[in-house]
């Protein structure tokens, strides 16, 4: 009985930590104290845009400094391919994540792609799924982010 209680408490603690982890991402964006806040949109099927949006993010971080800039890349529509797990740019995405750049993947697009593929596309582990990519952009712009669509 005692053992069962410990297990339940452990499970609840783990859930609590997970929830804290999930909300911390949102808080980081909502209460960013960075001088410059940028949201980059990728919704284009052209793969050149994938390279471009990553270059832009990298250059922004490099220009302003990692601690003074807040960059989030929001991918939706055909642009969501950037955040597929096997994407050729996955190494660069990992590198940018290490520099504080966030990646948001549109859940609506995932659902749409499920109808074509018969399953959800496997996404990059550095991506956070948001309900709707465009709504995410609107919310960030309301919070003072500058929208750039390279």
């Amino acid at each position: 009985m005692k053992m069962k209680s410990i297990r339940v408490l452990t499970w609840l603690a783990a859930m609590g930590l997970a929830l804290v982890g999930m909300t911390s991402t949102a808080i980081a964006a909502d209460k960013s104290m960075a001088d410059v806040k940028i949201v980059l949109q990728i919704s284009d099927p052209n793969p050149f845009k994938q390279t471009l949006v990553l270059n832009v993010a990298n250059n922004i971080v490099k220009h302003y400094g990692q601690d003074l800039v807040d960059v989030e890349i929001v991918a939706f529509g055909p642009g969501l391919r950037l955040l597929f797990a096997e994407n050729a740019n996955k190494g660069r995405i990992k590198g940018l994540t290490g520099k504080g750049v966030r990646f948001a993947a549109c859940a609506n697009t995932v659902k749409g792609m499920n109808k074509v593929l018969g399953h959800d596309p496997v996404l990059n582990s550095n991506a956070t799924v948001v309900d709707a990519g465009v709504v995410r952009i609107i919310d960030l712009v309301k919070q003072g982010y500058i929208l750039v669509k390279p």
């Binding site: 940028i38 220009h63 950037l82 597929f84 096997e86 074509v116 750039v148």
Partner: protein, 429 residues
């Protein structure tokens, strides 16, 4: 407002950088030609290239005033001086369903004037393949494509550092596919020597079949393999006999950096091909055709060094003008050859200097040949390339040739082979 300007400036700089990085492509030749970068391929990427050239051959005629192919400008082999649109290729590649990176295709057509098209009304598909990437470590490529083999043939021709192939590449590896109706001419005088007698395309280092291949990375090293089973009938879609060719290829490369066709690294490779051919002039006859090679390629700017040794047995090409044996233009002897190539990229400039020595020795089985007779083809080529930009360059080369044969009738034709000049502009789009 100031913030917007800064962001716009950074974005504009990134756009320019983006243009540069998109020049780079995938990995080695197997991967570069047979796969697409995951989740970045488009449904249909249109691409191609044009090569326009001028060549002049300084060889002298034989005693009767006739010329053999090494003394004439191909593919028409009519004269010793010619402008030519050597290659004009256009194609599409990508993935039919961009959401699924497991399937890709490669389609390329040749509209230029060369050994591929001289026997095909001036237009032919050189590549039409589908790659299935579902099994890790065993990608499957099906259709018409370059066979895994010697570097000169496997590499993308639009980044080839020379204009003309080596003798060992041209004679031992570039397979001719004569038809029973082809008539062989004795060497004729120019300007209408008409020594190109073939109705069908050359093999173009390609075959129709299925290939299992992949590349494995280990730190800085990249190991690749390919196993192919094909018709052994060149660009022809179907087979002319029941014999099939098998191809094996392995390469290990220490990658120094970069991507695409001019990636820097030290690559070592080995390959072998084996098959049988039916003599189209006597379909009751079959001959073995075996080819093997080992080579190395080093590229780290400003230096490039490559070398390869090739050997073959059976179906040894003797030239378009050789009707006097039971094999058509082939004999059943052995042959071998090699090439050594050095390149130097002049730092801070768009110039590249090249020098190549190639040697080819083939056994002779001519009507007048003695036992163990051989013919030897040695060529030293010096060249220069000027890169107008990443997509456009001009090649200039001069070849000094020393061809000779133990067989008197062959030697009588090779006497007088002299130097050759060539200039070629390549534009890739």
């Amino acid at each position: 407002m100031k913030m917007f300007k800064k962001v716009a400036l950074v974005a504009a700089c990134s756009a320019m950088l983006g243009g540069v990085t998109m020049q780079a492509q995938a990995a080695n030749w197997l991967m570069l030609q047979g796969t697409e970068a995951p989740d970045t391929a488009v449904r249909a990427k249109l691409w191609g290239f044009i090569q326009a050239q001028y060549q002049k051959d300084n060889s002298d005629a034989n005693g009767a005033g006739g010329y053999v192919p090494p003394k004439l400008i191909g593919p028409n082999l009519d004269s010793q001086e010619a402008f030519n649109v050597n290659r004009a290729r256009i194609g599409v590649r990508g993935t039919g369903l961009p959401l699924d990176n497991k399937v890709n295709y490669f389609l390329l057509a040749e509209l230029g004037n060369n050994g591929i098209t001289s026997g095909s009304d001036g237009k032919i598909l050189t590549d039409a393949s589908i790659t299935l990437n579902h099994i890790k470590g065993a990608r499957v490529r099906l259709g018409l494509f370059k066979t895994p083999g010697f570097e000169e043939g496997l590499q993308a021709i639009h980044v080839f550092d020379y204009i003309n192939f080596t003798s060992v590449g041209n004679q031992l590896m570039l397979e001719r596919h004569p038809s029973a109706s082809d008539a062989f001419d004795a060497p004729d005088p120019t300007p209408n020597a008409s020594m190109n007698a073939y109705a069908k395309s050359v093999g173009a280092f390609r075959d129709v079949g299925v290939q299992i291949f992949d590349t494995f990375k280990s730190n800085d090293w990249e190991h690749s393999y390919a196993v192919m089973y094909g018709n052994g009938n060149g660009l022809n879609y179907s087979d002319n006999d029941d014999n099939k060719d098998t191809y094996f290829y392995w390469s290990s490369e220490k990658v120094y950096g970069g991507k695409g066709p001019r990636r820097e690294g030290l690559k070592m490779f080995a390959w072998t091909q084996d098959g049988k051919r039916t003599n189209v002039f006597n379909t009751s006859q079959e001959f073995d055709r075996t080819r093997s090679g080992v080579g190395v390629k080093y590229l780290k700017k400003p230096f490039r060094v490559s070398a390869e040794y090739l050997t073959g047995e059976g179906m040894i090409f003797q030239g378009q003008h050789r009707p006097d044996n039971t094999h058509g233009p082939y004999n059943n002897e052995e042959a071998d050859g090699y090439y050594v190539d050095f390149g130097y990229y002049i730092p801070g400039s768009n110039w590249e200097l090249d020098i190549r020595y190639d040697s080819y020795t083939r056994g002779e089985s001519h009507g007048t040949s003695a036992a163990n007779d051989e013919s030897r083809y040695d060529t030293t080529t010096v060249g220069a390339q000027y890169h107008f930009n990443k997509k456009t360059r001009v090649n200039m080369e001069y070849s000094a040739r020393d061809f000779e044969s133990d067989t008197p009738n062959v030697q009588a034709q090779l006497v007088g082979v002299d130097s050759r000049y060539a200039i070629q502009v390549t534009h890739i789009f």
